[in-house]
Symmetry: C2
Subunit: 462 residues, 2 copies
Amino acid sequence: MISETLRAELRAALPPETFVEGDALAGRAAGWSRRDGIQAALLARPASTDEVAAVLRICHAHRQPVITHGGLTGLVHGADTTPSDLVLSTERLRAIESIDPAQRVAVVQSGVTLQAVQEAADAQGLAFPLDLGSRGSATIGGNASTNAGGNRVVRYGMTRDMILGVEAVLADGTVIPAMNRLIKNNAGYDLKHLFIGSEGTLGVITRLVLRLREKPARQDVAMVAVPGFDEIVALLKHMDRALGGSLSAFEAMWPEFYELVTTPPAKGRPPVPHGHPLYALIECSGGGSPADAERFSSALEQAMEQGLVADAAIAQSQAEAAAIWALRDDVGQTMRDSPPVTFDVSLPIDRMPGYLDEVRPALAKRFPGSLLWVFGHLGDGNLHLVLKPAMPASQARPDAEAIVYSALRALGGSVSAEHGIGFEKKAWLDVSRSPAEIELMRSLKACLDPQGILNPGRIFSL
Amino acid sequence: MISETLRAELRAALPPETFVEGDALAGRAAGWSRRDGIQAALLARPASTDEVAAVLRICHAHRQPVITHGGLTGLVHGADTTPSDLVLSTERLRAIESIDPAQRVAVVQSGVTLQAVQEAADAQGLAFPLDLGSRGSATIGGNASTNAGGNRVVRYGMTRDMILGVEAVLADGTVIPAMNRLIKNNAGYDLKHLFIGSEGTLGVITRLVLRLREKPARQDVAMVAVPGFDEIVALLKHMDRALGGSLSAFEAMWPEFYELVTTPPAKGRPPVPHGHPLYALIECSGGGSPADAERFSSALEQAMEQGLVADAAIAQSQAEAAAIWALRDDVGQTMRDSPPVTFDVSLPIDRMPGYLDEVRPALAKRFPGSLLWVFGHLGDGNLHLVLKPAMPASQARPDAEAIVYSALRALGGSVSAEHGIGFEKKAWLDVSRSPAEIELMRSLKACLDPQGILNPGRIFSL
């Protein structure tokens, strides 16, 4: 528990509205899909960088573990707490400080939601191209800490690629004001990369400079049926080449998933008929020239002539495009009856068929009567596997993990393409990282957080 | 000097062809435009990662400074040596290990030249989009260590954005095999960013996984005259928006530079007449559809209608496109009579007119009779300033630096957009980085290279 001395020091340094405890704290949900409350000795809600620094300085002196909370939409239990933890919530760091349409940057505090960033950019004719289902709750600080991915990585990269600068507070309260606003800045080490994707273990991000893009004036969307895996790889390359930089999504679906989301009780209807080996959702985001639609459809026609596409439905309206996207997004169908076991892996594209040929029968054998749905961001090598076992998911998880993750080891695959490691995947980190890499991660942790107070135990143990 | 013990240990651990010394060493040029020879006690040319590790392990035990040499095309004196240094050259790490057209990655050793990488990708219908004038000599390891920029950053980013994984050897000989091949891999800290852009001070890069792109099938290029600075900013935004991801270069030239490279004795001729306030070279790289050219010219027509372009010459052939690019690349004109003083800075785009209004008269006053040429990658906020003073460049440099760099301080500008810091800009690092950032850089250096043997004294002093 938190000592009375520490509590008193915090209360002396920060205004009373900073703190939440007791019933008010226990009444807060521990995550967006969870019924249990936050377990912690105290929750601090600093309202400025200086206040974040004050909390950390005091906790550092007392060796008090501090767990940072953003929107609590993480998927790897990185924000889980214990009754003796202090939670640092970014919920009062909600300012969008500026949007600069000429420089095309936004300066925001880390507790701003992704959706608020998107809307503020949109209002200036710009776009912040990161997008995720949890956009309304997820904070940009959390997106940065976990290097979130999403649907448009093939065009715009991960969150890391959309961040120009960060301000972060180290464990001892030192503020690192690396608020670079420039696309090119080779003046010494690029320190922001320490804080992006390190899941809050090296510092608390308080402010960010985000790179904005011109808003695409037009989107063309198609759902296509593909005769086989070699063809879908060739199709990805063909569309990427033909669209010359405008390809903005390439999402693959294996038949079981496509059929699930286009068969009642799911609301979706199949834009192309069932019965094909693979399906792809393809999106092109262009400048709005009438030539865009023509280029998109002629690229698809060429693909059909080359035998890369068996059937195609091109959306003829925004409503049709939205209906196609709704299929990809209807992951809720996998959770219809009971919670499934979900995986977020990546691997070299040419290894995917062999990987699925290994994992699919192994899962079927271990979990008789189970279902397996596969879909993902093929353009980025990222697959989501969703297993619905005939037993409670929590009971199936350990053996399912062993099957899904172990097979990645020989393929140079990743146990976490976009969700991070947290506590959930910690035991499997060594599938994707060598002992020397993990040792270097430990050295960095010891260098930046020598007491080990920031999100301790996530990713790896000290 | 290197002790006999150290020399003997190195010779015992590595084959004789590893070493160059004496006259053979002194006869090697210290850099591509330099007449002086390399000063060093010994040059080691390891032929494998293990041999690099052996050199470093031994030097670490003896606290022997090691300076890594790639193609020696750096522009900030980062590869300068003293007679007591040991040089580690990557010249025998020349293997292109594999090119994978499906995964679109190349695996190469760090001593491969940029041009060799470009050509190997091209042979597979792919492109490695980094490009620099020194492509024939510069090594990919050097490009990575300095996070090189170039002409197509607006579309593809810096070298950092084109690297998926690196293998690096730490000062003590530990090999960090972070050879990730995946676009998405959030399994723990992304360690490659420690080695990219840190100018060889944190480790020696030995191998890399490079991200390749589909080769653009067609390029459209124009030189346009622009009526003013507000218009060129609006033009950049307009073209970026209209071309929907296909804009691949946007290079600005102020009139003095445009006139220099289009007036005899320069070989270039002006595609649009002299007499305008600004000029821009615009390039679009597309998929080869006939609609590409139409979209490019109609986007430029719209810009003319909006008053953003006063005159435009669209290349009608590859030869005309090459002639337009040759103007931008004819930086040699600034070196015609005597060496100039060149600067590579970046700053927020809306601050550029004010910055030039401050710097231009200050330089003219301090250096009567001098000339100043300005051009740069406007899409990235990167300006090159070239001063030709009426005195030797070496004599003018200190005061010119004070004028050019000091004015960046208040603007959040960078003293090094793409060239790095090395020794040359070390004294000015604090213009672009805060004391807390520089202190954190020092902590990282101490963590990864506790003896301080790797490229010591570059970027900052310990």
